[in-house]
Amino acid sequence: MAEIDRAASSNTGAAAGTGSKPAIGNAGAARKAATGAYVPSDVSPNRRVQRRYSIRLWSIRHARMLEWFYARFASAFLLLHPLWKAIGYSRAEAPVTFVEKRVKGLLFDCRMCGQCILSSTGMSCPMNCPKQLRNGPCGGVRANGNCEVEPDMPCVWVKAWEGSRQMVKGDAILNVQKPVNQSLRETSSWLRVTAEAAARNEIAKDTAA
């Protein structure tokens, strides 16, 4: 926030020189464009740049329905625990990850962090945030609700807040999330959650018996 004057002076000079209007809201891009070097469109520090976010936004609009579905799906997956156990969780990992990656990739633009918190973020995947924030929006959100880094993308967390307001357990968005465990990347979140739930059930059964 403190680099204002210097950039202001360099930017006005550059804008006058090239004659083209620099993209609003991105000092770095404007300065880069002013050098005249070839810059492909849609360059982004983000891993996967997309031009459309329609399916992701649809999922957030239907957060409540997806929440309901997800709860059913989780219990169904848990019922299959004997099956996973018979196959072996480690052997089931690869095919389940394959399916999970594609299904969630389509619906939420999932990045396979391996520790899904969609239910706490209004069905808006926080790993799509260029800063990968898992605890809420940064201070750079634009007045129109778009991202600071990618001016065309609606802020993941503005959408997350909207989605969470529709969900029954939407207040989970207020919980402080732990940092991402990078060693779980590209693993199945579904299987781990199921394994953990099964282990809890077994402990509960043991203590009851």
């Binding site: 926030m1 990968q132 634009r142 807040w161």
Partner: protein, 363 residues
């Protein structure tokens, strides 16, 4: 003379007090209920320590804490750890900013220990601007932690004396933990809850983004008071002078997260001396926000106008006659200086003669 002084070491850590997380002056001032003033140091692009001392000297006697920014705007400068180490040498009370953009959890935890060992008492946890905003947009954005998990990490290190991994620390870093808030960016409804989250994660004080829209800030504070957050954390409002209407307009369209209403720009445009009007506007905003319940201080960000900080603080009268810490020479320093001068100018001293005199001297 300020009352927060360690008589043995004028700039050193103070005696620990019950209920205080750190041994610094900023926490003492805030906990006593006094209106605190902090400022932001413009980090030098040099390896000369004198540059840091000169830039800090402008604030002397006017501020309770000096923010050492961590490559703000993703522009490369002297590191915040380095600046803090220099500032603590001179007895200043730096607030070390840590941005999650450049370092992973291993580096950050190491820096926290190093900074604390150098005498840093205040640490401010930030997410950091995206790399695209800075002078090196090709850099890899790290963002291993976010500001919330960073707060929690440092709090765990301080209160439970262990790393994130659970490994024990022999001596925990005693630091006063800060965070940033921006009430002026969407989603507006979520912002007060986000502050609540930060407090839950460990924030003890927060500094806000530039406040140019006082009614908007008032609404935010009303919500904050409803949640009772102003009692759990000290809120410092970010203020600063705008150099001109042109700068204001540029900031508004190019710096994400800074909200400047049209009325402010109109006021600057109508003025004869825009720079002076910008300063006056800043003072007016301070006078308005200091009356809002729950505001514990101000954070003056006068980038490249640092010489105005003293005037702004003085003219707004927020200190109410209190004089923040000022670098004062240690009384023993003059004795040492006199003796050095004596040695330099005086006649040659022969050790044997001196020993002879001492031996014959009656005790």
């Amino acid at each position: 003379m300020s009352i927060d002084i360690n008589p043995k070491d004028l700039g050193g850590p103070l005696d620990p007090l019950p209920g205080h997380a750190s041994r610094g002056r900023l926490e003492r001032i805030l906990r006593r209920g006094e209106f605190a003033v902090t400022a932001e140091l413009n980090p030098p692009d040099s390896a000369d320590p004198q540059d840091v001392y000169d830039r800090a000297a402008i604030f002397e006697g006017w501020v309770d804490g000096i923010n050492a920014v961590d490559a703000s705007g993703a522009n490369c400068h002297m590191s915040s750890v380095g600046i803090c180490a220099l500032l603590t040498r001179m007895g200043y009370a730096p607030i070390m900013q840590i941005a999650c953009r450049d370092r992973n959890r291993i580096a950050i935890q190491g820096d926290v220990l190093g900074a604390s060992a150098m005498g840093v008492q205040n640490i401010m946890c930030l997410t950091g601007d995206g790399v695209q905003a800075g002078d090196q947009p090709g850099a890899k954005p790290v963002f291993d932690l976010d500001c919330m998990s960073l707060l929690e990490t440092v709090r765990t290190m301080r209160d439970e004396a262990k790393f994130l991994s659970g490994r024990k620390l022999t001596s925990p870093p005693q630091v006063f933990l800060g965070a940033a808030i921006n009430p002026f960016a969407p989603p507006y409804d979520f912002r007060p809850y986000r502050l609540a989250k930060k407090i839950e994660a460990g924030a003890q004080f927060v500094q806000s983004q530039y406040c140019f829209d006082v009614p908007m800030f008032r609404d935010y504070m009303a919500k904050v008071r409803d949640l009772g957050l102003h009692e759990k954390c000290f809120i410092l409002v970010g203020v600063g002078p705008l150099a001109s209407a042109k700068t204001a307009r540029w900031i508004r369209s190019n710096v994400p997260g800074i909200h400047i209403p049209d009325s402010v720009i109109a006021r600057l445009e109508g003025a004869k001396d825009q720079k002076k009007e910008g300063k006056q506007l800043c003072i007016d905003i301070i006078n308005e926000v200091k009356e809002i319940e729950g505001v514990a201080g101000i954070h003056v960000m006068a980038y490249r106008q640092e010489e105005y900080v003293a005037e702004i603080v003085h003219e707004s009268g927020v200190l109410k006659g209190r004089r923040p810490w000022k670098h004062e020479a240690n009384p023993t320093d003059t004795v040492v200086a006199e003796r050095l001068e004596e040695i330099r100018q005086g006649k040659e001293e022969h050790q044997q003669q001196l020993a002879d005199i001492a031996a014959h001297k009656p005790h």
